[in-house]
């Protein structure tokens, strides 16, 4: 009978699979956002299991800001090819034309144009009516109340007051034309659960998660890796080689590294278990104000 008992991780896995299948059953044109981070990879593994032995019935989409770490992009291309998935890459060409970078536009405007606007453009362009995202409720306070099926109006905006109650495992996915949902199959997972799953399932991840000497500069107390020379140096600033790793991955100028010697998954897990700070601390974008994530979500951010 022991095979009939589910551990918490197996239970979370089963619930996520149910959610992913439900979206495919209820929506016409779903897409899975693929950010190349560990959460995306775990979510993708769940999707593979949901439809095994068949292939994914939807494409993956990466919203590229053009400032992602180089290693992320090379990992992405190899991984997707090896697994035989279909990947769409979307870049906000208007933003590129306007020459918007995190250095000249400021964090908020850059994020808005290259991430939020880019995502909305892509969803409208392809007419996707459901988009899977790897966000978790334990990430941030305003996420704690997020539904698994998060409704967006035709302008892709989120109204925190007007979300549907979700009972049992019954997800009401009915939408009017033009409306869409964002779906979060990992809602009930914690950062630790995701890492454990990556470990248990032996999912390959971007090597940036593991410590290695990398060229970094200290900006406002955060180690930023200079991944290419688009990043201007302050007068007198010289990148130094430090053994660092990243707890989250995003745009390299906005992602802080932590000092670490953990060069494999087991060591990362041990370091994390002994850690005293939450993972979003490495993210510059939602560190400024308590309600900033909520504000971004209202505008259409994930």
């Amino acid at each position: 009978m022991t095979t009939l008992h589910l551990s918490h991780l197996e239970q979370l896995e089963a619930e996520s699979i149910q959610i992913i299948r439900e979206v495919v059953a209820q929506f016409e044109k779903p897409v899975m956002l693929f950010s190349i981070g560990k959460d995306s990879l775990a979510m993708l593994r769940l999707a593979e299991k949901a439809f095994a032995p068949g292939k994914l019935p939807f494409p993956l989409m990466h919203v590229n800001t053009t400032f992602k770490f180089k290693e992320m992009i090379s990992f992405r291309d190899e991984f997707v090819k090896a697994r035989g998935h279909t990947l769409i890459e979307w870049i906000n060409q208007e933003g590129v034309k306007a020459g918007i970078t995190p250095f000249n536009a400021g964090t908020q405007r850059y994020t808005h144009v290259m991430k939020t606007e880019a995502l909305k453009q892509a969803l409208s362009h392809y007419g996707f009516d459901a988009a899977f995202g790897g966000a978790r409720r334990d990430e941030e306070k305003s996420r704690a109340k997020e539904r698994v099926f998060s409704f967006r109006d035709r302008f892709h905006t989120w109204d925190p007051k007007n979300q549907r109650p979700e009972l049992w495992n019954l997800y009401n996915g009915r939408v009017a034309k033009g409306e869409s949902i964002r779906v979060f199959p990992l809602s009930n997972w914690t950062e630790l659960d995701v890492w454990l799953y990556v470990y248990k399932e032996q999912i390959p991840v971007v090597p940036l998660y593991f410590a290695k000497p990398r060229p970094v500069v200290n900006r406002n107390g955060t180690w930023i890796m200079r991944d290419d020379d688009r990043m201007p140096l302050e007068p007198g600033e010289v990148p130094e080689m430090r053994s660092v790793r990243f707890r989250t991955l995003g745009c390299y100028p906005l992602t802080g590294a932590v000092d670490s010697q953990a060069s494999n998954l087991r060591e990362v897990l041990e370091e994390m278990l002994r850690s005293r700070t939450s993972e979003r601390q490495g993210r510059v974008i939602d560190y400024d104000e308590a309600g900033s994530m909520e504000q971004k979500k209202k505008e259409g951010y994930f």
Partner: protein, 646 residues
Amino acid sequence: MLHGEELDRVGIDGWLEGYQRKELLRILTCGSVDDGKSTLIGRLLHDSAGVFEDQLKALKKDTTRFGTTGEEIDFALLMDGLQAEREQGITIDVAYRYFSTPRRKFIVADTPGHEQYTRNMATGASTSDLAIILIDARKGVLAQTRRHAFICSLLGIKHVVIAVNKMDLVEYSQEVFEAIRRECSEFLGRLSIPDVHFIPMSARRGENVVGRSETMPWYQGAPLLDYLETVHIAGDRNTIDLRLPVQLVLRPNLDFRGFAGTIASGVLRKGDEIVALPSGRRAFVKQVFVSGAEREEAGPGMAVTITLDREIDISRGDLIARPNNAPMLEHAVEAMVVWMNEAALEPGRQYLIQQCALQAPVAVTDLRYRIDVNSLKSESATQLGLNEIGRIRMECAKPIGADPYVRNRQTGAFILIDRMTNATVGAGMILDRTPAEQALDRERRSHDAGTNLSPHAGTVTPEQRAARVGQRPFTLWLTGLPRSGKSSLANALERTLFERGLQSVVLDGESLRKGLSSDLGFSERDRAEHVRRASELAKLLNDHGQAVIAAFVSPTAEQRERARSVVGAERFLELHCDASLEACEQRDSTGFYAKARAGEIANVTGVHTAYEPPTSPALRLDTVGASVEANVARILALLESRLLVG
């Protein structure tokens, strides 16, 4: 840090091994902000290392801005999510929190305690294994406490902790705690929550939350976290009735046709024979994939894909069950609903029902009554407004393969969707049905060949018989002194149930002794045998779907306990007809007691042998001061609250 300490003890590999085996417990917390609920959760998270330093730093910053605790960290602020709400100082939705200990992982659904938020509480309760109901020790039991307990019971939560908080503000008084416990026990007895715990605590000071309190030596029980780590929930799963709602049909290539879904209950093995509803077609299971990997068997909660040995027509919304254990297929359904929308539910309106993977149009034909959640009384109503709860009858365009919610928390649950706005407007729990409605439905079904799914193989189970009769069987065991009014109450009750369309059988001492027990006398041994026969008879009748009203003196607790175990604790309700010996003697017109006093009859309870009153009956009925009608009404309310009658 708990993780750190554990790591030092078992090493990283030991830790990884242990973490993968952890069990998940889902908790609902109910109470208002003032009861210290957010403080309690914040305390659990903080003391079990679920709060990181940067969050703590943000919390300290928030405390000076919004806090109500002065210098102390306001743990409540950890919990309140959306910025606007935080500034108003209230939580207005369900928020989910996560923490883990070496033994378990916990998901906490935090719901507000304000009057108008029944909706949110029902949402949180729908997935919870356990509920913590907070009571402010200074205020005691409030209307909201009853309401919370009722919603927990309605949504099928089997374990409840009554956390009597703020004990520090009542000088850790045992009397205050005991008074609250007594008051709670009285109304909890009327609900169907099998496991209730009471814990005195001070969340702000952390007493009896994670660690034991030294200020309350009189409390011998475990602190809250200990209890949460050890409460046994594996037994709550239904492993008997196989139900696999089909979510998707997977056809990756011409050779593979898989049916994907999550097992709602029961166990499925390779080689099993299954029946697909509503078609009634049968097949054998060829392959079972659990989370994508092929396995021999699968159990409740697992996401599976199965293939069959032959091609039968199955599509999304269908249900896979066993040929000798399939749910009733019904067009008409009786249900309790929690209304979640500003636009009220009105009889005659049409909605969409979503039950398992089925979505179909339904019409609400009747609103039978509304329940006043404060008094738990039912009252007639013409509509059901936001946050109101009531019983409805619906007719569905497609037959629904459903089980009563009390039996199956997955197939017995549904939501209602507004067809214009697409909003989720109601949450429902399917009830057993009355015979009249079943007859009506059967009539319709005879025109609809292929949906008549009476079992072809195997013996008929008590559940199937009960379903056929259309009522949930129970035994009301009336105990009390001779002439305490048991039989007259039993007869009046039978009449009332009969008028409501329910069948019941009255068993009483006098009639049994004329036949079945005619060989028995009144010695202690013969009396015990008499009660045994009565209990076996009650069991037999219950197994055949009949309700039983048993009226027996049954003077000892032991005899009644034995009766309970024969009949089955889940359908046995002990009712005490409470009348003093003096009153019984006074009302005795047959001269029974007079003869006993005169020595003409021996072994009379009350006169020669003692009567042991029940210590915790489901109801204590005053059969001297209160009228028969009043007592019948109380019994009916009890049966209704336990969803035994509608």
